[in-house]
Subunit: 370 residues, 4 copies
């Protein structure tokens, strides 16, 4: 049996569309026919050779949703249900060792030094099919239905769900590390897919006011942020750091933002965000996914004197994928509006381009052509 | 200057409507003209003499919202704004000493042994006016407006806001003590005002599914629970413990409820709730406000073997009032539908009666007649 | 190659000493030559047929320390070091699936429904040799040495270390679930091996005062508790519930115990312990390991009114084994005094007897005869 | 009645020894005869005019222990005991408003914008007597005795206890904000009084290994750190950043320090400390008490990629003073060795000098001449 793949063989060059033989499954492995494969901003970084983890050749794509096409022996999902052919599934993109200090003693599998990630450390989802290792944690969508969500898996759009496995999950992790209390004001910097998921999770966990700061290129994303429930949005080019600070202070009676989430992925916004943080508040930076150099930080004024916490966030684990799937299915936020572009696998270069140019909010490959 | 009050002079007897001279204010005290005074289920308990704290005579009423009528010297709200005549305010009903082990060392003022509560330990809100002690924590509604909420305090209905100072605050405390994660399923037993606020807070903090169990007398409350977002409701008389358990297990793929909140105020629901709790989950009992005797508990099967937490909840503090006010103003939940009955001060006995009979969801006195 | 084992074939009957062929190792498995095999109180329960999990025939023994005798392919410890023959190791007695909701989504492997425990669910350590499954989490003692601990693994007494894998680990889990603050007073009920480990962990995590309550049969254990740092001990038969309550109130200026840990394993101590708990405090029951029936509990006076938490504790995971190993090696507490009896494998019935009679604090089998 | 004081009237100039009339006490105020007045490193900063909060003239001294000399009306300690003349007491140096957002809603009184600190915002302890405001939180030492500590307050050395009110309390706050687990390795940079208290608290809360980094001038402090239980100490001038990193990596099997506490008070140690922090670990900076400018920080490598938390720490509240008092009284650490110099009030300039020169670990004024 064969599958079609899009392979990165050289940085900054066209991905090669190949037809490859699917290797026989080993015990516990699952062959998935992909229905959606998300194009993440970090795929563009990898394509440009900016992610130090990238070894060529590689099939990119760490976000995937698909249906079980074949199995070798029994394999269960997180709820202990046996998978069977045709099941719609999503999975934790990181396969961890479960045996090391960070997995077993700290219970932080996202930091496992042996973590293998589909589409980053091993071949991924820019393909018609993907073989999941036996150690992969799988969520069978049939088990996520119910009175609160879609009535059948046919009602789930894989392209909308797919972001739960990366942006959504990282946002869940981000917000898990933030001590949000009901009534808090959150500032979000950088309303891309990760940022909008962070906004949704912050509101879903009780924040009652959210301010979003973006650029002119983010115009549509800022509009969407308002739909998600942001009370105020600012455009960097059309206002000043001082004006934005005054807005936040006005909304918080001079206290500042209880939580600031920086999803810009660049260091430029760091000091603005840190200074918007309230005494006792937390500044979080989930967007930093590749080396960006140094930023200067005032230790006394912006950290010590304010008892502020700065929280790094690195990727996610199965708990976060699960939370993100629940958020998507809940329908509380119009997350379907994130998916502005869909492409067949062969048009993968177009997909990378609209992501790189920020023309898309989120682009998704639909290898099966749906 | 005089005020009208409704005084409990004898248990189970009519409250006396009196006209009393308002005592001169001391430094820092604030005279409030009440616009709404909530009739809480525990007022009925007190009226019946079931609350061991009640010393007669007493002006009941621990939930109040009103406008500043007079002050003695400057007094600020939690945001440091000077109060002025006409300001619409709400306040923490408990005045704590700030100096004791539970206030200062544990930072749990709700457990302060010196806590004085308006309407319980000292005279309360069943009156046209109330004098707030200088140590009272005050929230000025003008400071809670903004792009996310009502545009002016005229748009705030005091009768709807008033429950934030007791049921809402206790619900905020309840949920603060529960480790809810996004994606969790919550079971709520007892959908009275406290229960519905707990439901709202549980959903506001990330629960993605909620099941509510009530009695036939709760029919309207169960309907309202659905409007709040409950995915399923059960009527105790029309189903069995076993059937209700199967429903929860079905919705959770056999895991159980991550969190169970028992707001029935009776011990009858205890073991059902505890057994619905998932391994590693939490069972919380904020509704127990007066002595109810003993319940039998299976230590191994229902607590130890499942690593379950049982969490007592006692009243609330200013942080919880603040969170409840934010929740009400956010408009996310139709909390205005809680207020089914309004009465002038003179009709206080009618108010107690509709609460006792469960005909009302929430009854409110509007002493100014609005 | 052969091994000697002690097999439970019939409840309440003599264990059979057998010689069995060791099965060939599979990929990743490790053959351990046992140097110490702890005899836990729950082994006695199992021997008596009181633990519902026990399926016969079974080699008991869930606590083990030994040296690597053989391996099939490479196997690493939690620090990523390759094991080699002769390494002294300890391991997590529970082998979990890592794929289910409780493992992967809740990150609570101790609650994994697929958890296999050596000596409980599958054959254990009452033997000269044990084969560890590839999924077993292993701590190589060589990696735990250093300037703070023993200079070489020869300085580690396996019989003293062995309790870290069960009582020690469960105590670590217990204390992890308790919000102990420096300065807290802890009451411990039941100073057996689990209780004494809980005492040590509570003091190691900042409790500054500890009161221990035992029976006359616990006389030596109470003495040892004083050596561990308990400020006060009480003998149940020689004092009254009232007197013990007064002692705790005296020591805490009337507040009560911030934390109560009940390791008696019986329900008799439940209400005394719960009523010693301070407002806002926590009562924990790690000792309940088999069904003990029901206890009556006053919901208002002892739970709700005091905002108390009751915390079930079920077994432990690798993080807790690790913490317990660190505690033993630190030498801060005289944990070596726990081990009052050592027996060769053939004398296993004597070992069970001294544990059952409470003559031993802790009995250990030393299969290699050391 | 008169008191003797040492007044800062001009930065960098001799403090003036004055005799002043003690003002009549107001309701709830307590006159204390000081038995010990600590000389903190920040007093030197203030004397040099480096602390932006200092308004002249000012009686320095924010650390005090003394006996009740007079009272105006009843005043209770945190345990509700009435103070009486002769009682030995310590108190929270910060008097907070209890009414603001940070006090009442966030329950973080250390961040209260209205916090008045004896010796910083208002007159302090460089005096024979001090009048405590009615709102001051007081701990009466008689209530802290018992079977675990000194038998009578005569056995308490005020000079040793006094640091509990500042360094000790700030250390308690620092460690409260650090998620230390038993078995963790802690690195401490800067073993001054604050650093040594942080070391003690980190060990008291379960850290099992501690590495301390100081300068040659810290030689005695490093020795004392070893007595406290540090497994390793390094001298900055006698080793390299690389060598120190290798030592920590060696002790942690390549993981890094779970917690790093920087008490140097300078930015020079920031990046070394941050890079010693393990993935998922926390870097804390309680020592930064005055403006020190900017430090460059690598966002990806040192924060995001490692999921690291950076935690600012600002002063302390009553809970921390209480914890520090308990720690001192427990006798577990040789904290008495911190006090290397004692001076009468008149020799205050000598005291400031030995602190500035680092010749003292801790210098204390004993105004009563004991």
């Amino acid at each position: 049996m064969k599958r079609k793949t899009a392979v990165l063989t050289k940085f900054n060059a066209l991905l090669e569309i190949r037809e490859q033989e699917i290797e026989p499954l080993k015990e516990g492995e699952v062959l998935v026919e992909l229905e959606a494969s998300g194009v993440c901003g970090s795929d563009v970084h990898m394509w440009k050779g900016k992610d130090p983890r990238t070894a060529l050749p590689l099939i990119l794509g760490h976000e995937g949703v698909g249906r079980v096409a074949d199995m070798c022996g029994p394999k269960t999902d997180v709820f202990g249900h046996q998978l069977k052919e045709g099941d719609l599934i999503i999975w934790d993109r990181g396969v961890t060792c479960n045996l090391c200090y960070l997995c077993a003693v700290r219970k932080e599998p996202s930091l496992c030094p042996n973590r293998q990630v589909y589409g980053i450390v091993r071949d991924g989802c820019y393909a018609t099919h993907l073989t999941l290792l036996a150690e992969t944690k799988v969520i069978r969508m049939e088990n996520m239905l119910g009175e609160s969500g879609p009535a059948s898996t046919d009602r789930i759009d894989p392209a909308i769900l797919v972001a739960a496995s990366c942006s959504g999950a990282t946002a869940a992790h981000t917000v898990e590390l933030l001590p949000i209390q009901p009534g808090d004001l959150v500032v979000l910097q950088g309303p891309g897919p990760l940022g909008l998921f962070c906004l949704a999770f912050a509101l879903a966990k009780g924040a009652s006011q959210a301010v979003v700061i973006g650029t002119r290129a983010d115009a549509k994303r800022l509009e969407l942020a308002k739909e998600f429930g942001a009370v105020h949005t600012s455009v960097v080019e059309d206002s000043s750091v001082k004006a934005r600070r005054e807005e936040v202070m006005e909304l918080t009676n001079g206290i500042g933002a209880n939580v600031v989430i920086d999803c810009t992925g660049t260091p430029a916004s760091f000091n603005e965000g840190l200074r918007l943080t309230a005494p006792g508040g937390t500044y979080s930076l989930p967007g930093i996914a590749t080396p960006v150099g140094e930023v200067p930080m005032r230790l006394y004024e912006d950290v010590a004197r304010k008892n502020v916490r700065i929280q790094g966030v690195w990727v996610s684990d199965t708990s976060h994928v699960y939370q993100a799937v629940r958020l998507v299915l809940s329908g509380r936020f119009p997350l379907h509006k994130l998916v502005t572009h869909r492409f067949p696998l062969e048009k993968v270069m177009d997909a990378l381009k609209v992501v790189d140019s920020k023309k898309a909010i989120k682009a998704v490959l639909v290898p099966g052509g749906k």
